[in-house]
Symmetry: C2
Subunit: 245 residues, 2 copies
């Protein structure tokens, strides 16, 4: 839950009361195993889900088996505000690592946000950022070549992790296999591998086991033509801040 609070505070400063209200979202906790589906295309979305720990991915599969990962959920991410409006999921969500998430019934969500409008705005901010990320992924796949694509993805993930306090200096966990990276970037595993080799050779990354080190984030951003503005992290909602200290 603290990841979530930490993230929302990139948008507005929350009051103590707001935080207490948020803590009510943590009452129904569920675990998922590696590779387990959290929800599948066609299922009816019944609850809101909040990532407490671990990594998930959102993905779609074509009839012939091709798979595209269309997003990552990191700790502190909310899986789809409001989806319960829709009758069925048009995509699936799977656990990449062991995952803990909070399930929030729509009624509870409505009750809490009705009483805390600033909180609701922070949640909308979260949703708008997720949309912006999705657009950026479209740009990534449409315009960038292999090296740029992977560099851009690594920058995004690193910065998102840093926002929730999950980096240590210039390193972070990176539990994604090369096959999954391929399904994310629209490349084959072979080509992902070669691209990573090149990035290592250029000293842009150190990636070993499940740990990623980015010796020079600026350099990596440059290679990936990464501009973080789409993450809207600069306390844009400061005008909504509480007066309370």
């Amino acid at each position: 839950m603290h990841h979530f609070v930490r993230k929302l505070e990139h948008f507005v400063r929350l009051s103590g009361e707001d935080k207490v209200a948020l803590s009510r979202f943590g009452s129904d906790i569920r675990q998922f195993r590696v590779r387990e589906d959290v929800i599948r295309e066609g299922d009816a979305p019944k609850v809101l889900r909040l990532m407490m720990s671990g990594w998930c991915c959102r993905y779609k599969t074509l009839e012939d088996g091709r798979r595209q990962i269309v997003g990552f959920f990191l700790p502190g991410d909310l899986c789809d505000l409001n989806t319960f409006i829709l009758r069925e999921m048009d995509h699936s969500i799977a656990a990449i690592t062991p995952v803990t998430l909070a399930q929030i019934p729509p009624d509870l969500f409505n009750e809490v946000t009705l009483a805390h409008p600033r909180l609701l705005q922070a949640l909308w901010w979260e949703a708008l950022v997720r949309e912006a990320i999705q657009r950026e992924w479209t740009v990534n796949l449409g315009q960038r070549d292999a090296l740029e694509r992977v560099a851009h993805l690594l920058c995004e993930v690193f910065i998102r992790l840093r926002c929730v306090g999950l980096t240590e200096g210039n390193s972070c966990e990176f539990p994604i296999t090369q096959a999954d990276l391929g399904d994310t970037t629209g490349m084959t595993t072979v080509h992902v591998n070669r691209t990573l080799q090149e990035m290592r050779a250029r000293g842009l990354i150190v990636l070993k086991g499940k740990t990623l080190v980015i010796p020079d984030l600026d350099a990596l951003q440059q290679v990936g033509l990464f501009n973080p503005n789409y993450l809207h992290l600069e306390r844009e909602g400061a005008h909504l801040d509480t007066n309370e200290a």
Copy 2:
């Protein structure tokens, strides 16, 4: 405005009162010329925009000039519920054809939707569908080859136009240049051209001037691995219908 109503009614049946309320959104109308920017990356979003007629595109540009179109706005589309939460735009919107759109001040929007909750749900549905479309574009760019990509795009556009009554039988307007198609599908104009040639040769499309004919939509869907479920068009919100006839 009727396009908008027609579209929302794919989700819930609106009461006469709802429709009257919606008509209040049409008080501030603006025109844009071909290729004119509606709003630019970096600008502050101040109003909600509703497409009355014409086509717009949402796009992002990289420093080195590469451009990716990340979405089309067709008549009846709403350009970003809620963006006024964000301080600045992370992308631009441009008119592809002459465009008429309604500008809705946030206050008016809040007032109207507060009084008409079912309307608000329909608007959320609209926003969620837009997100789903964005995800599908990610899949399109990541997994499909040139032919599939273009076929998929044409299916989507055709069906979205049909939803708002802008098709006639199996034909519709299609004012997109091949260069813009390239920026949309992540291909060069040359390759777009060759791909269209092949589609014509296979009898999948007749595309001449700004008119598109799809002789056999099923066939085109098959080629594009197009599954319309992500458009959520099946009156999913029927349980919210008004009792009023």
